[in-house]
Amino acid sequence: MTLLIQRLIDGVQSGVLYGSIALALVLVYRATGLLNFATGEIAMFCTFIIWELAGGGLGVPIVVAIIGGMIFGFGFGAGLERFVIRPFEKADHLRQSMVTMGLFLGINALAGWLFTLDVQRLESPFPDGRWHLGGVSISYHKLGSIVLLILVAAGLRLLFAKTRIGLAMTGAAMNPTSAQLLGVNPSRMLAFGWGLSAALGALVGAMVAPDLFLSTNMMQTLLLYGMAAAVLGGMDSYVGALVGGVALGVIQALAGGYISFIGTQLQLAVAFAAIIIVLLVKPEGLFGKRQVERV
């Protein structure tokens, strides 16, 4: 029984990592309708900034460094939108996505060039140690990350549903012309969306790095899981992204732990098979809006 609970906790832990990167993907998708392949690399780059601030000689307290990294991330993301993505405003989504693929390669190489190719440790903003309950336990870092990321998802939901700027962003993405008539500047909203996504990426990186170690490749596999989590959650829902990630993590942990043929080797296949089944039954994903087609 304790083993089962520990496996569930493990699943939730990895699932939150997948879900958190899915959040950043969904943010750009909602703002621009675009699949941003560079999401993970932007997050990695911002995490290196945090590392430079905290560990790399400057010795700033980690919480301050994370905030600094997020501010940098906002400027970095908005700048990328303004100078790299905006020239492709009129391009189809394939070309836009391939531009983000170019960013993926470029940012990955640039990070290795500027920072280090080595694997680095990043300090956690949460206290050391573990929280014990019965026979199972979870580290304060994991617990703190989970709570923080849930708060972020809820905050994003509120931002887009309730605040003026959030509504303006949604409007700009859904119908730029009408939004413009209402006095919203769609380009500025797109830049804002990218900035927000990169700032979130910095936060996600700071949550991920203490567990997975900071390196230029830290985000690559996470990104793939994040994409899967985003689809499962419905691609346009923040809560869905997080739930999708957790569902993926739990399925993976349980299938790997209990089905001996699967072992730890085919758990990926099982997790993805589950996603396909969900999508066949519920094409819009767990939390997504139904796609409506006009004849």
Binding site: L3, Q6, R7, D10, G11, Q13, S14, L17, Y18, L105, N108, A109, G112, W113, F115, T116, L117, D118, V119, Q120, R121, D128, R130, S137, S139, D211, L212, F213, S215, T216, N217, M218, Q220, T221, L222, L224, Y225, G249, Q252, A253, G256, G257, G263, T264, Q265, L268
Partner: protein, 441 residues
Amino acid sequence: MIMKRLHFLSVAACLALVTSGCGGGAVSQSVAGGGAGSEKTAYLTKTCTDYQPTVGVTDDTIKIGYSGALGGPFATVGVGLWGMLGYFDMVNAEGGIAGADGKKRKVEVVYKDDQYQVATTKANVQKLVDDDKVFALLGIVGSSANQAIRPIVNNGCVPDLFATAGAPELGDPGYPWAMNGPVSVYSGEGLTYANYLKKHSPNATVAIMSQHDDYGKAEVGSFKDGIDGSQVKIAKEVTFETTDADLSGQVTTLAATKADVIIVIALGAQMLQAINLVSGHTEWKPQIIAAPISVAQLSQLNPGAGDGLLTGSSINVDDPALASDPKVALFRKWVQPQFDKNNVKLPVSAGVGGWNMAALFAQSVTNAAAVTRADVMDAAHNLKPDLSKIIFIEGLTLETTPDDPYLVEGMVIGKWDAKAKTLSTVDTIDLNGQVKFKSYK
């Protein structure tokens, strides 16, 4: 008019394409034969369809080829090149490598980036051999790549020396033109762990966590061979993929066995993650045995994690205390500029492997009866490394013979002190001559 212009264009294109070819077409079948080797090297030349003994060698130069990941996500696996170039810079400054014919030859290295894609490695190697006309290949990166290029090196009889790979397959007697480099062969590492446990904790139960690929399989397979018939028992083994983001599930599964020892076969960030998890994820506190990992990397562990773990030890050239050691000083003098020039931001210790490969190559050329491919290959098969040249921890018998091409068999085992961030030697398991070729699939 339009037709004319187009016609002109196509003729121009045609000419440009044809003349850009490196002379001579590839249509005619190559004729088997060429010079044969001596009787002594017949065990090598019997595989040749086209043996050209002295390609790439002149009276004062020798040209060698390298292919590995130099940029992109796998850039760290190719950094040995910069150590190799540093060594050859030093040798060339002294006039070159001395040969049996009394001539000194400067080394020219042609290197190509393959991004760790095997199809690209193979195409690169084909180019190095056919177009660049290199004498030998040195330090080719990757077990997969070295097996993919077998037909080229074996049929063409091109030395594929001191590969950046630990796969036991490179000791396959059917393919004598390839050899492992100065890294311990995977199957020797598994035997080492087995011998260590049989000696120090003969009744241990062992949990194993390994990378799900040829590396993990060779290590685990040879470990099982090693403990066969002893009281050391395997409690459970789990694997993980290099694409797995989080390894806590694997550690949870193993913790349930409450085994005495855990052996972790992993690389880079995943190795560190696994050690952190074993130290902190559960209440289970086994003795950790980790596949060789550098002090620089171990220093990145969480505070206190991994204390007392056992791993393969090496000379830590990053250690400031060793800076005055003449060999280390020489290494830093020649390799650091290569790292700086190419902006490789890694501890300079990452270049040690390449440095050693270059030193072994130079020694093989010097020892060879003549500077021909077969003689140099034969010299590499009968090598006792000059320990004043290579940077290698003392205690192991390093040697190769035609029947036992593995240079490094066994391990100097160090114990990690998490507070002092040092490895101190606890035992030396020397398996020279004991690792037989076996493929673990």
